[in-house]
C-alpha cells in the first residue's frame, strides 16, 4: 500500500500539483493497480530479453537535405506560447534571485 507521503514524492518527480483529496485517492488506486501488476512477479522471465520496440532496432541517419524540411518559423514556433515577447518564450526565473525573464 502506497502512503500519502510516497504519493507526494511521486507527484514531485512528475511535477504535478495534487489536492489532499487526490493524494488519498491516488494512494488507494495506485496501490490496487500495482498489486495487480505484481502478477508479473509470478511469470518465469529467466533469460527473456526485454522488448522496447517491436520493430528491429536500426540506426537512422537522415541526409542533410532533410534539415530544415519541417522546421517552424519563429512566429509559428511561438504561436501557441502562453507567454512570449515575440522573439522567445517567457518563463519565470529558474534560479532564486536571477533576473526576471521579462
Amino acid at each position: 500500500m502506497l502512503t500519502v507521503n510516497e504519493v507526494e514524492g511521486i507527484a514531485r518527480l512528475a511535477r504535478l500539483a495534487l489536492s489532499e483529496e487526490e493524494k488519498v485517492r491516488y494512494a488507494r488506486q495506485l496501490s490496487s493497480i500495482l498489486d495487480y501488476a505484481a502478477e508479473l512477479a509470478r511469470a518465469d522471465l529467466e533469460g527473456i530479453p526485454p522488448t522496447a520496440s517491436v520493430l528491429p532496432a536500426r540506426s537512422v541517419l537522415r541526409g542533410g537535405d532533410a534539415i530544415g524540411h519541417h522546421t517552424l518559423s519563429r512566429t509559428d514556433g511561438l504561436a501557441n506560447a502562453p507567454r512570449s515577447d515575440g522573439t522567445a518564450f517567457v518563463v519565470p526565473p529558474t534560479l532564486p534571485g536571477a533576473l526576471s525573464g521579462e
Binding site: 495506485l30 500495482l34 495487480y36 501488476a37 508479473l40 520496440s53 537522415r62
Partner: protein, 485 residues
C-alpha cells in the same frame, strides 16, 4: 438527389461524386446539417469546422470537374482530436490544450488533404487517448448512438459514434490498447488497427510511443482498405514508420471464397465472465467464415493474462515521459506560480484530468530509481513472451479470431470509480499493441439489448491486407455491418 447519409459508404460517396449525382459541397453541407441536429445530443465532435469543410469541398468539386479521380476526393470524413490539423483547434480531449491551434499537419492529415478528403471536424476522445469509454474527455462524454445512456467505447469514441450515427463517411482514430477496435465494436462499425510502424505517427499527440498506431473507423472493410491505401507507408519524419511497400489493399479484397485460409481460435480468449451472447455471436461468425471455405484451428496464446499488467506499466511509463512536454512554456495552458517549477506543477495539476494524472503517477513510479527493474524492465521482458505467443501461433494460422471485448457497451458511469475494472475492457485488445500486430473489428450481431457485438480478426505484423480480406469476405455474405442504430 442526396443519398441517405446514415448508410453512405466512402465508395458509394465516390460513385455519386464521380457521376455528378451530387457535389462535394452539397454532400458536405448535408453532413454539417446532420451534425448540427445530432451532435448536441451525441457530443461526437469537439470541433466542427464548417467553413473549412465547405472550402475543401469547393476545391474538391473543382478537381472533380477538371476530370480528376481518387478514392477520397470530395469525401467528408472526421479526425480524432489527437491528430494535429493546421489551423483547426486540436485538444487531445484535454483542458491543457483547450485552445491549441496547430501550425502544422500530421502526416496522415497532410496525406488525406492531398487526396482531396473533406475534414468535417475533430472527434471526441478520452484525454490523451487514455481510456476505454470516452468518459475521460475534459469536454464531456460521447453518447453511444445505439443507446444514449451507454458509452461508445474509447478512446476513439467520438469517431465511432460519428460513423455509426452518419455524421461522416468514415473517421480516423488511434489505437494504443484497443482504442479503435473497442469503439468500433461498441458502435457497430468496422475498425482497422494498423501494425505498429505501418502508418506515420508524425503529428499524433503521443501517448505510448512504442504502442501508438493510427487506424480507421468505417462502415465496411472496403472503405477501410481504400483509406488505408492513402495513409499507410513510410514517412521520413517518423523513424519508426517502416520503409516497406504498401500492398494494394483494395485489390486484396478478393471475394467471399476463403478456401485455404486457416483461422486460429485462442482458448485463452473465451474465458469465464464473457457475456454469453458475445461468445455465441463470435462463434457463429467463425462458423460463417468456415462456411466460406476457411478451416478453424484451436491455438494457444499462453501468456495472454500477462497483457494487462504489462500494458498498465509500459503505457503509463511511456505516457509519463511523453506528457512531460506539457509544462506551460511552449503551448497550452499556463498557471502562474511561485517560480518556474511551481508554474509547471500548478499548470499540470490544473490542466490534466484524473486518469491522465493517475497514469503519469503510475508511469513515474514504475520508472523511478529502485523500482525501474522490478516494474518497467520486468514488464518489457514479459512483453517479449506475449509477442512470441503470436509469432508461434501465426506459424500455424493466417488470422486469429476472438471477441473484441468481453461484453457490449456498458452504461455511462458504470466503471468510473474503479479504474481496474475499466482496464479489463481492454483484455482482448491490448496484447496486439504489445506485439505490434494488426487487426480488424467487424460487427457480428446484436445482443438482446440491441447493442452491437464485435468480432476481432488479428493478423501478423504488416498483414493488414489479409485481415481486411477476411473482414470483407464476411461482410459480403452477412448484413451485420449494415445495421444502424
Amino acid at each position: 438527389m442526396l443519398p441517405d447519409l446514415s448508410t453512405l459508404t466512402v465508395h458509394a460517396a465516390r460513385e455519386g461524386l464521380r457521376s455528378r449525382a451530387f457535389s462535394a459541397v452539397a454532400l458536405t453541407q448535408a453532413f454539417l446539417d446532420r451534425i448540427t441536429a445530432l451532435n448536441p445530443t451525441l457530443n461526437a465532435y469537439l470541433t466542427v469546422d464548417a467553413d473549412g469543410a465547405l472550402a475543401m469541398a469547393t476545391a474538391a468539386d473543382a478537381r472533380i470537374v477538371a476530370g480528376e479521380d481518387g478514392p477520397l476526393l470530395g469525401v467528408p470524413i472526421a479526425l480524432k482530436d489527437v491528430l494535429v490539423t493546421r489551423g483547426v483547434r486540436t485538444t487531445a480531449g484535454s483542458k491543457i490544450l483547450a485552445d491549441y491551434v496547430p501550425v502544422w499537419d500530421a502526416t496522415v492529415v497532410a496525406r488525406l488533404r492531398a487526396a482531396g478528403a473533406v475534414f468535417l471536424g475533430k472527434t471526441n476522445t478520452d484525454e490523451f487517448a487514455m481510456g476505454s469509454s470516452t468518459e475521460n474527455s475534459a469536454f464531456g462524454v460521447t453518447r453511444n448512438p445505439w443507446a444514449h445512456d451507454r458509452v461508445p467505447g474509447g478512446s476513439s469514441g467520438g469517431s465511432g459514434a460519428a460513423v455509426a450515427a452518419g455524421l461522416c463517411c468514415a473517421a480516423l482514430g488511434t489505437d494504443t490498447g484497443g482504442s479503435v477496435r473497442l469503439p468500433a465494436a461498441f458502435c457497430g462499425v468496422t475498425g482497422l488497427k494498423n501494425s505498429y510502424g505501418r502508418v506515420s505517427r508524425y503529428g499524433l499527440i503521443a501517448f505510448g510511443s512504442s504502442l501508438d498506431s493510427i487506424g480507421i473507423l468505417a462502415r465496411d472493410a472496403r472503405d477501410a482498405a481504400s483509406i488505408n491505401a492513402v495513409i499507410a507507408g513510410h514517412d521520413p519524419q517518423d523513424a519508426t514508420s517502416l520503409d516497406a511497400p504498401v500492398p494494394d489493399y483494395t485489390a486484396a479484397l478478393t471475394g467471399p471464397d476463403l478456401r485455404g485460409l486457416r483461422i486460429g481460435v485462442p482458448r485463452e480468449y473465451f474465458i469465464e465472465g464473457i457475456q454469453p451472447e458475445v461468445e455465441a455471436a463470435v462463434r457463429a461468425a467463425i462458423d460463417g467464415l468456415v462456411a466460406l471455405g476457411a478451416t478453424c484451428h484451436e491455438v494457444s496464446l499462453p501468456n495472454t493474462s500477462l497483457g494487462l499488467p504489462v500494458y498498465y506499466l509500459i503505457a503509463p511509463a511511456e505516457a509519463s515521459a511523453n506528457l512531460a512536454r506539457f509544462d506551460g512554456v511552449k503551448y497550452g495552458l499556463r498557471i502562474e506560480g511561485d517560480g518556474l517549477e511551481s508554474m509547471m506543477r500548478e499548470t499540470r495539476g490544473a490542466g490534466f484530468g484524473p486518469e491522465v494524472k493517475r497514469r503519469i503517477m503510475l508511469g513515474t513510479y514504475a520508472l523511478s530509481a529502485g523500482y525501474h527493474d522490478a516494474y518497467y524492465t520486468r514488464a518489457q521482458r514479459a512483453r517479449t513472451l506475449i509477442k512470441r505467443d503470436f509469432d508461434h501461433a501465426f506459424e500455424h494460422v493466417d488470422v486469429i479470431a476472438s471477441p473484441v471485448a468481453p461484453g457490449t457497451a456498458f452504461r455511462i458511469g458504470e466503471h468510473v470509480d474503479d479504474p481496474l475494472q475499466m482496464y479489463l475492457e481492454d483484455v482482448f485488445t491490448i496484447n496486439m499493441n504489445l506485439a505490434g500486430i494488426c487487426g480488424v473489428s467487424v460487427p457480428c450481431g446484436l445482443d438482446s439489448n440491441r447493442l452491437p457485438i464485435g468480432l476481432q480478426l488479428m493478423a501478423p505484423a504488416f498483414g493488414e491486407a489479409i485481415a481486411l480480406r477476411v473482414a470483407d469476405a464476411y461482410q459480403r455474405v452477412t448484413a451485420h455491418h449494415l445495421q444502424r442504430p
